[in-house]
């Protein structure tokens, strides 16, 4: 069992946990956090599996950076919408979800 696998498995675990959080929580902020955990999981998988026996692959690293930027942008957008939603409705979760 290589270290790469550890990273990847941690990533998988994070993804699973994030998914669970995403399902289990109603609070939108928590769901966003869960989403970010899932994102981190994905990135870890990317990074972890990039290291096979032939050396370091930098392409996934670049992909992860792009992914992070996208995730940041998405999270920011989600936060903006969430805050607007909260301001308009006073709710932290979505209607019909409870």
């Amino acid at each position: 069992m290589s270290s790469a696998l550890v990273f990847a498995w941690s990533g998988v675990l994070l993804f699973g946990l994030g998914l669970f959080g995403f399902i289990a929580h109603r609070h939108l902020l928590r769901r966003l956090l869960a989403f970010n955990i899932m994102g981190s999981g994905s990135f870890l998988v990317l990074i972890g599996l990039a290291q096979d026996g032939r050396g370091v692959d930098h392409v996934p690293h670049a992909m992860v950076i792009t992914g992070i930027v996208v995730a940041v942008a998405s999270t920011a957008l989600a936060l903006v919408v969430f805050r607007r939603w909260y301001r308009a409705s006073g709710r932290t979760d979505l209607p019909e979800d409870t």
Binding site: A8, F15, F22, L28, R31, F35, M38, G39, G41, S42, V45, L46, L49, A50, D57, V59, P60, M63, T66, G67, V70, A73, S74, L77, A78, V81, F82, R84, W85, A88, S89, L94, P95
Partner: protein, 486 residues
């Protein structure tokens, strides 16, 4: 490939226009379309002309070849989608220019969002790189979410939030799938994947992730829940754009990846599951559409139903003979294009009707046929295509799918097509029945500006015409695909 300016322009131009429209004053934002639309139209048709004359090609961005750099694929399918986007988005833009006049200035942010959405979609149509597709999906998805949220009412915000969550979840699943595929094959290029793909656990799990991610974004039943509030509650041109184009993008990616991975990797069982979900969408969406009391909700659920037809592609193309597969390809694309045109028309004309009666309630449409025949006529023409009645693109698509289903011996899809058509007739005619009922003798309805009616009518007519002249678009769409030879 030298001199293919039009290809990068397809996404660069909308990007530039998006930035530009952010910089100018709100009043100037709509006017940018008079620059943008002709240019984009020229670029689209140039791409088409080159495709027809010179055949499909690969565009190597940055001069780097596939596994290292990012390539763009300029084949029939991509160009077909680009043309569809140009047509529908242009008309929606023209519609929006007039429609948004009555809305507060904040709605002028529609324009940068529109251009970025357009850029994202064109990026997706052209993409040959599965990670690039992820970024493209995000561009398009966030723009779409922004458009849904544009009204900033609580309903709009909730719908946008729900949409955003779904989009994010889908994107992540897709990304993880991409990660696994990359880890397995060391390439992100579709061409590379096509050559290397082999059936193993990693590939299948990756495929599952990709499928599910894209299903969520395509809003296939039962993952469609975000769609009706988002599409039904948005501004009319936004609804039209989202229903007509945006959901098609994720389906398009799924379709491409499915074909890229090839019959050895894509399991028949999964294909059937997708077909069954499609059938469920047709039934459930139709039923729900029929139950709606609000016009745009009805149209939105109709989208849920119509998406189902597209997913018959997978069972019909997987493990079937070449002829059946070709027909399934033709049929699905015909359905896709026809639905794009018809649904845009349906939303726009529904918007006109709502504008006319000042209410979204279907029951308030009583007697409207007398006063607003034109809006209703567009609605009807688009409805014809959705019901799959001839002569229309919807019919031609249905015909091809039926053909394929019979040829491949999967008769059970016939039932879906049969009942689906009847269900759509039920909800379309629900609107008509109301409008034909004799109501007040005095015209109290508002007359929408002519542009609104005309754009809807053009789209609806296009949905009809494409059915009559289907062989040409279908021929183009096959260029460069596995079905091109037939």
């Amino acid at each position: 490939m030298i001199g293919l300016w039009s290809v990068p322009l397809l996404f660069a131009l909308p990007l530039a226009l998006g930035i530009l429209s952010l910089l100018v004053t709100p009043a100037w934002r709509p006017r940018l379309i008079f620059v943008g639309l002709p240019l984009l139209a020229v670029a689209s048709f140039d791409v088409l002309a080159r495709l027809v004359v010179e055949g499909p090609r690969i565009y190597e961005l940055g001069g780097w070849q596939a596994p290292l750099g990012i390539n763009l694929v300029v084949d029939g399918l991509a160009v077909g989608m680009i043309l569809m986007t140009t047509l529908v988005a242009s008309l929606c833009a023209l519609y929006a220019r007039v429609y948004l006049r009555d809305y507060p200035p904040s709605s002028s942010f529609f324009w940068p969002l529109l251009w970025l959405l357009w850029a994202g979609m064109n990026g997706i149509w052209l993409a040959e790189d599965i990670f690039n597709l992820y970024v493209g999906l995000e561009v398009m998805g966030l723009a779409a979410v922004g458009m849904v949220a544009l009204r900033a009412t609580p309903q709009a915000l909730a719908a946008a939030m729900r949409y955003l969550l779904a989009a994010l979840l889908g994107s992540l699943a897709y990304l993880l799938g991409v990660a696994l595929l990359y880890a397995t094959y060391g390439t992100l290029s579709m061409a590379g994947l096509h050559e290397a793909a082999a059936p193993n656990v990693t590939t299948h799990v990756a495929l599952a992730l990709i499928i599910l991610g894209l299903l969520l974004k395509t809003a296939l039943f039962p993952l469609h829940a975000w769609l009706p509030p988002a599409h039904g509650g948005a501004l009319t041109p936004v609804s039209a754009l989202l229903s007509a184009l945006v959901i098609k993008a994720s389906f398009y990616i799924l379709m491409r990846i499915w074909l890229v991975l090839g019959p050895e990797v894509t399991p028949i069982f999964t294909a059937q599951v997708l077909g069954v979900l499609g059938a469920g969408a047709v039934f459930y969406g139709g039923w729900m559409a029929w139950r709606q009391h609000h016009l745009k909700q009805l149209v939105a659920y109709s989208t849920v139903a119509q998406i189902g037809y597209l997913f018959l592609f997978f069972p019909l193309v997987t493990g079937t003979g070449p002829e059946a597969a070709r027909l399934a390809w033709d049929g699905t694309l015909m359905m896709l294009v026809a639905h794009a045109l018809a649904k845009a028309a349906l939303f726009l004309s529904a918007g006109n009707l709502i504008l006319a009666v000042g209410s979204t309630q279907i029951s308030h449409l009583v007697g409207i046929s007398r006063f607003r025949p034109m809006s209703l006529f567009s609605f009807g023409l688009a409805g014809v295509s959705l019901m799959g009645l001839p002569p229309s693109g919807g019919f031609t698509g249905k015909w091809l799918l039926l053909h394929s289903a019979i040829l491949s011996g999967q008769w059970w899809w016939l039932i879906v097509l049969f009942l689906g058509g009847l269900l759509s007739a039920a909800y379309i005619f629900k609107v008509f029945r109301m409008s034909f009922r004799e109501g007040p003798q005095i015209d109290r309805s508002v007359t929408p500006p002519l542009t609104l009616d005309v754009t809807a009518l053009i789209l609806a007519s296009a949905a009809i015409l494409i059915g009559l002249t289907a062989h040409l678009p279908l021929f183009w769409l096959r260029l460069g695909s596995a079905f091109g030879a037939g």
